[in-house]
Amino acid sequence: MVRRTVRIRNELGLHARAAARLVRLAGRFQSEIRLSTGPNRPEADGKSILSLVLLAAGAGTDVTVSARGEDEREAVQALVKLVEDRFDEKR
């Protein structure tokens, strides 16, 4: 399993449109992908938009992205990049 933590930096956080991008990207990988905002917080399925938005991860939240599967490394790398790039949003 590969795991990395990244801080949400776009203004709106992991809202619907950002989550949609994340789900689309996650869907390209075979691996099982999970996101969590802390050790005692609920985990979200990276391929389920409903569970992702439910993380209520606003700007400044640290999110741990983990993947398990054949392409786990590539998956985490791509997803972390998406978050760092502010989901291609301007602010």
Binding site: R21, K47, L50, V53
Partner: protein, 590 residues
């Protein structure tokens, strides 16, 4: 998902509310879905689950296609940045957690696709509502929007087959609309438990008229009652008991049975009024003495037609003597008491009677020397009958109807004979003098009706003969049975003419032909303006119950429309559309 305290499923629970519609009932609770997105059954039969999954899949496909179109349209208008928001909606429809939740409910709990969708959405929304951040809390609305589209698309598909409903339903809901109630067959609905509900709501008016007890004002009713619970409903006290003990259940069901019996008798005997309050008099047609008691017991307000032939037919060699007749009429008068009882004087028509056939010179005289014509030709026979009737009037209210009248002279002669007999007998008994009316069954009488009405106290419409004579076809002629049709435009117009003429002259008109015994035709007659119907005793409760559910203004409009038509095929279609009792009784109440 929702946690149901297992203990709450076994313990009896008392619910308090307001009784809106009186009565007691016992039944199985069944939740009525609110009408957002149309009505749909909550549950399906387990064996239909696969078919239900197919419905879900189809509706998902349609919804996805629609959303793709929306996204493309948006993209071409405002650009990719904004159209991405629709992507979130699309992804909800592809969200495996969401879809699995729906499928699990269809397969595991036999829920309909609509209900499974709604329940799954609800459980997700509960999670969203618990979020602290208002921005993310708001995101639940995306899900609601998508679910509404999905349910709407499901609604456009073939509806799912509902589960087999229990026979005795106690419907419960926060509130129920008339349309939702109308989805159920009302003779299965035993009671209603509601949170919101008004005394003057359509639903309550219908419930009262169908004697369905209603308890409203039960808070959180949908949480405290579960589909499948046994429920005792007490609309008198405004109480309900959920999952009662076996002992309570038994005691209550005895009360329900007693009350049902009582109310059935009472309602059968009670006056018949249309839903908008117009009084319709329902009387009984009888032939022999024993039927009189039955007619009154079944709720007849009197005897609209007492056929006197059977007394004559007892003895095939000679007409019945005065004493024999007096005995029968006295019994009739005693039973009727204050109520109206109309004796039709001798009319040997279809029946074969050697003595009278010999007099008439043919057998049997469907046309020609029948009814009042025969009576006036052989006045002694008539006088004997009149004497017996007038003597029996000491014991109750008896009136006389003259059959087969076709001319004014017949009424005048008959009246003179009646007066002569009365004079011989001495002063009439206290109370009102005997009323003499005519049977309207010969078309000739219809054409001179205003003149006849001046000499008559009332009109009895003998529609059976009126149809045969107007259409020139025998009622029992098998070869031409399709020609005997009371819906023929000439008959409908004749009936309207009779009702109008009688109403104008303020003379009562009673329809006593077979048509009055049929729920559909009876309501048509009421729409035409008739306020008194006389029928076979067994039809009385049926007709009363039927007419109580209808509104006069609706019937009047439908009757006007029917009588405006001239083609029998059009009339038959319109008759089925407007008067068929198999149609929902709610239609005319809304």
């Amino acid at each position: 998902m929702r946690n149901v305290d297992p203990a709450s499923l076994s313990h009896p629970k008392a619910l308090r509310g307001r009784g809106l519609s009186p009565g007691k009932a016992i039944g199985t609770a069944y939740r009525v879905a609110p009408l957002r997105g149309g009505f749909f059954p909550l549950h399906i039969r387990p064996e239909d689950a696969a078919e239900e999954l197919k419905r879900l899949k189809t509706a998902l496909g349609v919804s996805l296609r629609q959303l793709h179109e929306v996204r493309d349209r948006l993209e071409s208008q405002v650009g990719r940045e904004q159209s991405c928001i629709v992507d979130a909606h699309l992804l909800i429809l592809e969200d495996q957690h969401f879809l699995k939740g729906i499928e699990k409910r269809i397969l595991g709990s036999s829920e309909s696709a609509e209900q499974a969708t709604r329940a799954t959405v609800e459980s997700w929304l509960r999670l969203y509502r618990s979020l602290q951040d208002p921005f993310f809390r708001e995101r639940g609305s995306d899900l609601e929007e998508v679910a509404e589209r999905l349910i709407a698309n499901l609604g456009r598909l073939q509806p799912s087959k509902p589960q087999n409903l229990p026979r005795d339903l106690v419907l419960f809901a926060d509130r129920i609309s008339l349309l939702a109630l109308a989805e159920f067959s009302l003779d299965r609905v035993r009671g209603l438990l509601l949170n919101q509900g008004g005394r003057h709501s359509h639903v309550n008016i219908i419930a009262r008229s169908c004697q369905i007890p209603v308890v409203a004002g039960i808070e959180r009713v949908t949480e405290r009652v579960h589909s499948g619970d046994v429920v005792l409903v007490d609309g008198d006290q405004g109480l309900a008991q959920v999952r009662p003990s076996l002992k309570d259940q038994e005691e209550f069901s005895i009360q329900v049975r007693q009350q049902r019996q009582r109310s059935r008798q009472e309602s059968d005997r009670a006056a018949c009024r249309t839903l908008d309050g117009h009084r319709i008099h329902i009387l009984a047609n009888t032939e022999v003495g024993s039927e009189v008691g039955l007619g009154l017991q079944m709720g007849g307000e009197g005897i609209g037609l007492f056929r006197s032939e059977s007394i004559y037919l007892e003895n095939r060699k000679a007409p019945a003597g005065e004493e024999r007749q007096y005995g029968v009429y006295r019994k009739l008068a005693q039973m009727a008491g204050e109520r109206k009882a109309i004796i039709r004087t001798l009319d040997i028509g279809d029946e074969d009677h050697p003595y009278f056939s010999k007099l008439a010179g043919m057998a049997p005289p469907v046309l020609g020397l029948r009814g009042i014509r025969m009576s006036l030709r052989y006045p002694e026979i008539f006088r004997t009958q009149i004497r017996a009737i007038l003597r029996a009037r000491q014991h109750g209210n008896l009136d006389i109807a003259l059959p087969m009248v076709s001319g004014l002279q017949e009424v005048r002669q008959a009246r003179r004979l009646i007066e002569e007999v009365q004079a011989q007998l001495g002063a009439p008994p206290e109370g009102k003098p005997v009323e003499v009316g005519i049977m309207l069954e010969v078309p000739a009488a219809l054409l001179i009706l205003p003149a006849l009405l001046e000499e008559s106290d009332f009109v009895l419409v003998g529609s059976n003969d009126l149809v045969q004579f107007t259409l020139a076809v025998g009622r029992i002629d098998e070869e031409a049975s399709d020609l005997y049709n009371p819906l023929h435009p000439s008959i409908l117009r004749s009936l309207v003419q009779i009702a109008d003429a009688c109403n104008q002259a303020s003379k009562p008109a009673i329809v006593c032909g077979e048509i009055a015994s049929h729920a559909d035709f009876a309501s048509l007659l009421v729409g035409m303006g008739f306020r008194s119907l006389s029928m076979s005793p067994f039809a009385i409760p049926v007709i009363k119950r039927h007419l109580r559910r209808l509104r006069l203004d609706t019937l009047r409009k439908a009757a006007d429309y029917l009588t405006s038509l001239s083609a029998i095929e059009e009339i038959e279609t319109a008759f089925r559309d407007h008067f068929d009792p198999a149609g929902s009784p709610l239609r005319s109440a809304s």
